[in-house]
């Protein structure tokens, strides 16, 4: 959010002088608007070119958001209200744990649910199908409905009763077994089995996802009792729901875990875990990682986009050169001319930022869908929700806008230096054989900043700073090199360095993710 604030501040800083000029000098606005309307096709082209940067930046964020959303959706499908689990040691009494937790009166907790979980094999005899290692849970349905503050996220809100010989399966399990309500399922556990009737097939949400199947309380214990040797008996668990719904409990989680550990400290071997927080944290890390990968790759396209932008605005200025020269002759100072041109360009820039954000959403989502499976987001079942984080759009649009505005200012300051007579006669500016001192100074500063950014990026493990610092240093060094080397050699050297570096960065950022596939 601070990034957005800084970027928005920069954009305002760059736009303010234009806004002031526009308000005070209506003619400048009239000229800008009419110039834009005069050539609609060209206007569309300029906006299309200028939105490139915004679209790439936005899409990098959207990829992250979509992938994060895809991973985080597990919190909804497999946990719902379940934030924390307390698992006492084998044979310990769950009621004691419950009593200890209740006595601790932890504010953040809005629900407790006693459950029993086991790993079992589900077989559908008629279909000749089986799911080994299925997670099967038991809990009281009536209590489950009231678990947490929002029945809808429990996934079992509509279920009334479950007969002792009944079983509820979620859609994923039902799909793997090919069963539907009314079919018989055989539950194998502890060298024993029991036939149960599928009473409901429900969506994989909340508690109905925490277990692939839900059976009536006592079912697992009955099986275990028949067995001679029980390797891993059913585990009793106390499920804890924290204040809030599915995704908004993350902040409470760490403190609640600490409180619960303290509450259960006197009871032997109680494991306190926060599986949902882990899911959300992993999702966020995945998303952020992907955003970084794609913005690293994208940053080179953004560099290309900036060059395109410069060319577009220089082209616009070339087209109006005679006019711009005439305005100077009529008494427009360089400052006023800068504003006149920049107002028009800023209209394009703002349109491009808005359009670029929208295009970026589309690109980002497509990239996520295509690249998601590579990065392991394929098995999420929930697919790729089109997550649109306002913050991502704001960052994408404001970064794009700031890049455009800086480019516009640089271009128009340069344009305003035109020689009036040459402009009016539409003569080309003569080539400056000698590198200007100012260019040298700027080049030196750019080289230093680029090198510093690159070095800081290397030390701080920030791929974007590292990847962008080097080309910035290389480009900035070009005018310095031209003093020492023939111009051609200097250019080749600069371009070669940047291209090689870009290729290496792209390769590295992709391969650094390869082990996760």
């Amino acid at each position: 959010m601070t990034a957005v604030a800084v970027l928005a501040g920069l954009a305002v800083f760059l736009l303010a002088p234009l806004a002031v000029a526009a308000v005070r000098q209506r003619t400048l606005v009239a000229m800008a608007v009419r110039n834009i309307r005069r050539r609609p096709a060209e206007a569309v082209l300029v906006v299309a070119g200028a939105l490139l940067g915004t679209a790439i930046i936005t899409s990098a964020f959207v990829v992250g958001d979509v992938i994060e959303g895809s991973f985080a959706d597990v919190a909804r499908t497999r946990y719902g209200p379940v934030d924390i689990t307390l698992t006492p040691a084998e044979g310990a009494d769950l009621d004691e744990v419950t009593a200890a937790v209740e006595a601790a009166q932890i504010d953040a907790i809005d629900g407790l649910l006693a459950a029993t979980a086991a790993t079992a094999t589900l077989e559908a005899p008629q279909r000749d199908a089986a799911v080994p290692q299925a997670s099967v849970v038991e809990f009281d349905l009536a209590a489950a409905r009231d678990f947490g503050s929002d029945p809808r996220i429990t996934g079992v809100a509509d279920l009334r009763v479950l007969a002792t010989d009944g079983i509820i399966v979620n859609e994923r399990t039902a799909g793997r077994l090919g069963v539907q309500a009314g079919d018989t399922l055989r539950l194998h556990a502890y060298d024993s089995n029991v036939d149960l009737e599928v009473s409901h097939v429900v969506a994989e949400v909340g508690l109905a996802g925490y277990g692939g199947a839900i059976v009536a309380p006592g079912t697992l214990a009955a099986l275990a009792e028949q067995a001679a040797v029980v390797a891993t008996p059913p585990r009793d668990q106390l499920l804890v729901s924290l204040d809030g719904g599915v995704f908004d409990t993350r902040e409470l989680s760490d403190a609640a875990v600490a409180d619960l550990r303290a509450a259960a400290a006197d009871l032997p071997g109680v494991e306190v875990e926060a599986p949902k927080a882990r899911v959300l944290d992993d999702a966020q890390a995945e998303g952020a990682g992907l955003t970084e990968v794609f913005s690293t790759i994208g940053s080179f396209s953004v560099l290309a986009g900036i060059l395109l932008l410069v060319n577009l605005f220089v082209m616009l200025a070339e087209e109006r050169k005679t006019e711009l020269g005439m305005l100077r002759a009529v008494g427009f100072t360089r400052r006023r001319l800068t504003r006149a041109f920049a107002i028009e360009a800023a209209v394009y820039a703002m349109a491009a930022a808005a359009a670029g954000a929208v295009v970026g959403i589309g690109i980002g989502w497509l990239v996520a869908v295509v690249a998601g499976p590579i990065f392991g987001a394929a098995d999420q079942g929930s697919g790729y929700p089109l997550v649109i984080e306002p913050a991502s759009l704001a960052i994408g649009a404001s970064t794009g806008l700031v890049i455009s505005l800086v480019t516009i200012w640089a271009t128009s300051l340069r344009i305003a230096r035109l020689n009036i007579i040459r402009a009016i006669r539409d003569l080309p500016e003569p080539k400056v054989a000698r590198v200007r001192t100012r260019t040298l100074v700027l080049g030196a500063v750019g080289t230093l900043v680029g090198a510093a950014a690159g070095f800081a990026g290397y030390l701080g493990d920030n791929a974007i700073a590292l990847c962008l610092g080097v080309p910035l240093a290389a480009f900035s060094a070009a005018p310095l090199l031209r003093r020492l080397l023939p111009e051609r050699t200097a250019r080749l050297l600069t371009a070669g360095t940047v291209l090689t570096w870009g290729w290496q960065c792209t390769r590295c950022s992709v391969t650094s993710w390869a082990p996760r596939t």
């Binding site: 003619t27 005439m326 002759a329 009529v330 008494g331 360089r334 009036i420 007579i421 009016i424 003569p430």
Partner: protein
Amino acid sequence: MYRNAEASGSPMSSNDVGRMTRLAGTPSREPLLSARGVTKTYRTGTHEVAALRGVDLDVRAGELVMVMGPSGNGKTTLLNCLSGLDDIDAGTVTVDGDDLFAMSDADRTRHRAERMGFVFQAFNLIPVLSAAENVELPLLVTGVAPKLAREQAREMLSRVGLVDRADHRPGELSGGEQQRVTVARALVAEPALVWADEPTGALDSHTAGEIVELLHEVHAAGQTLVVVTHDEALGRSGQRLVQVRDGLVVGDGDPMVDELLVAAVAVTS
């Protein structure tokens, strides 16, 4: 003058009165423009063209100065350099007591906006602005309130006979009409000095005649003008003719006297 013309029902006459009192009918002693040793060399790659090679020239308020000479001898360059539109390599140009090239670019621009008007061969109007909007530009850049600027622009357009075309864009006007708009734009801020480079060069002879007439009218009303032209008739119609050859001023005086001189030289040699 126009800028305080709100009370006057007839700005045209108030304008004339203003000029008459300032000029008292005849050119004043102090030169309005004074150029000394101005040189200008164009450098394109390896080529160098010495377009001005030490030009001295004075223009007094109220004068109509015609500049003539063979093509490529530096007339346009002279106009561009003495008006401060282009840079010079050496020399000084003083206008209204201010050294043009000792000022910052911003000051020179303001100076130009307040004291000079331009008419070029190629009209050079802003295509997206209407005639009135084009004419009011010099007023707006000097800080005249938009409403007043529009009024004055319309008055000036009516003076050049184009008030009914005030809202037309340049593309909708004929060449002669466009040039009249340019003249209106050059005059609207009541500049001390108007520069015109071949103002009739792109017009047919009839339309050109109208523009010549307009320029004479403007001069008669007290305006100082420097006009570069190839048109013999226009060139000889002024009271002063400056001859430029090879980057130097080679003749300066009354065209009638000049002609007599040329004749005399022809007779003696």
